[in-house]
């Protein structure tokens, strides 16, 4: 499970991060509101994401969970309030630097169709000006890490299956070893078997790398399985934030409605046994 961390790595992984540090949150929303064209998308939103956890934002479409995610890497900026990443307010950081230090995975993957897999994965390292040899080594490492065969490197996105494409998407997000990963329904468009496989692998990958993850989904089962904590969103508000075990027992009407909708097929986080 050893990971190479070169000394000049932008954000080296330390094992210390794997223990939830009680200290300062990695991501913090302070009274954030977001309005667009007269519609209140987010309202007085407060949230702290701890180092090394997978915080799942669960909610229906239109509940504001994707907007919440985009506030972290400043694809949108808050109307009021402040989003802080690693203690620094987003409004005062260089947005390009900020985005390159955060991995971003979306449902439609968004691989560049004119780049082969290797170039797609190498996107951030390349624009960051890493030497070619180091980029190539990193691509090999990421292919292995995400369970892709080395010969895939020279293929183009349209030659891949949906599952392979999303693996490449995850590899690309991890390329410059960011501390934070933002994932917007990354497995939503996959068939159930592939989704199950990718969720399982993602969980074990996250345990090894100790990334801080914000994960958006509308699937309670996925939230149960992956989440350290589940933040339930409804109409631009954070209704409640609970661990998966608490969520199942919750008397909150929204949480209860979710549990009921998904019936009894729920298993709080995963077979692998959560720490």
């Amino acid at each position: 499970m050893a990971r190479k961390v070169s000394p000049d790595d932008a954000t080296p992984v330390s094992l210390a991060r794997m223990q939830p540090a009680a200290a300062s949150p990695v991501i913090e929303f302070r009274d954030v509101s977001f309005r667009v064209a007269g519609t209140q998308v987010l309202c007085n939103f407060n949230l702290q994401v701890r180092a090394g956890e997978i915080l799942v934002l669960l909610g229906r479409s239109g509940s504001g969970k994707t907007t919440t995610l985009k506030l972290v890497n400043r694809l949108v900026s808050p109307t009021n309030g402040e989003v802080c990443v690693k203690g620094v307010p987003n409004s005062r950081t260089d947005v390009i630097r900020l985005r390159r230090s955060i991995g971003y995975v979306i449902q439609d993957v968004g691989l560049f169709p004119h780049f082969n897999v290797a170039r797609n994965i190498a996107l951030v390292p390349t624009i960051e000006g890493w030497p070619a040899a180091r980029v190539a080594a990193r691509v090999d490492e990421l292919l292995r890490l995400t369970g892709l065969a080395p010969e895939i490197a020279s293929r183009y996105p349209h030659q891949l299956s949906g599952g392979q494409r999303q693996r490449v998407g995850v590899a690309r997000a991890l390329a410059s070893d960011p501390e934070i990963l933002l994932m917007d329904e990354p497995f939503g468009a996959l068939d159930p078997i592939t989704r199950d496989e990718l969720q399982r692998e993602f969980l074990s990958l996250q345990r090894r790398l100790g990334k801080t993850v914000v994960f958006v989904t509308h699937d309670l089962r996925e939230a149960m399985r992956l989440g350290s904590r589940i933040g339930l969103m409804e109409a631009g508000r954070l209704v409640t934030i609970l661990t998966p075990e608490e969520f199942l027992r919750s008397t909150d009407p929204w949480a209860a409605a979710y549990v009921q909708a998904f019936g009894d097929r729920l298993e709080p986080n995963s077979i692998e046994g959560k720490s």
Binding site: L75, R100, V109, G110, L111, F112, P113, H114, L123, V124
Partner: protein, 210 residues
């Protein structure tokens, strides 16, 4: 066959006029590309400019070419030389297909791709040159292709204001009521249009990403 004989007998002049024609079409297409692609990029990124720019290009397109040549005639520096004037008019006509295709090509890039690019920290210019333009290239080139073919035809009318080109034969033939002379201008112009179409088409395929 008499047309072919006429062309062969006057091949010196046919070549000279073909050269002039190429000069008019080539230079105007170059200018239209240099102006039209940035304008297309602008309106793809700033929707506010979309309507005025496309409306302007559309209006130019509706002005009859002969009238446009006439309008521009009194303009000081331009009016001094007919070929300058013809090149300006042809440039204006070539703008619309180039602007419109650049706009359509960039707007046609999968939003997930640009969102991922921005989210990963590409700067606006990296996004433009590494993602949007390469992916829009074949659409943009097909606009250039349309522009070239239109220009080859329109450039024949430039002879009416004395700008030269293959139109000379056509107008002379009309005056002389001699089909051979008309065709000596029309046939090389048609061949040129077909070759230009094939040439840009070939370029389009060569530069196609993946």
């Amino acid at each position: 066959m008499s047309v072919l004989r006429f062309i062969l007998e006057n091949r010196g002049q046919v070549l000279a006029l073909t050269g002039e024609h190429l000069w008019l079409v080539g230079l105007s297409t170059l200018f239209a590309t240099l102006i039209g692609i940035p304008l297309g990029i602008l309106i793809a990124h700033r929707p506010g400019f979309n309507k005025p720019v496309l409306a302007g290009a559309n209006i130019i397109q509706t002005i009859p070419s002969l009238a446009l040549f006439g309008f521009l005639l009194p303009v000081p520096w331009l009016g001094d030389r007919a070929d300058r004037l013809a090149i300006l008019a042809l440039t204006l006509y070539a703008l619309l297909p180039i602007i419109r295709n650049t706009y359509a090509g960039i707007r046609g890039v999968d939003p997930a791709v640009t969102e991922a690019g921005r989210g990963m920290g590409l700067t606006a210019s990296q996004l433009l040159f590494q993602v949007e333009l390469p992916l829009a290239l074949s659409v943009i080139l097909s606009g250039v292709r349309t522009a070239v073919v239109i220009s080859v035809g329109l450039a024949t009318i430039a002879a009416a204001i004395g700008a030269g080109g293959l139109g000379e034969f056509i107008f002379r033939g009309l005056a002389m009521v001699d089909n051979r002379v008309i065709l000596a201008g029309a046939v090389p112009a048609a061949v040129m249009a077909i070759l230009a179409d094939l040439g840009v088409g070939w370029l389009e395929r060569r530069l196609q990403p993946r």
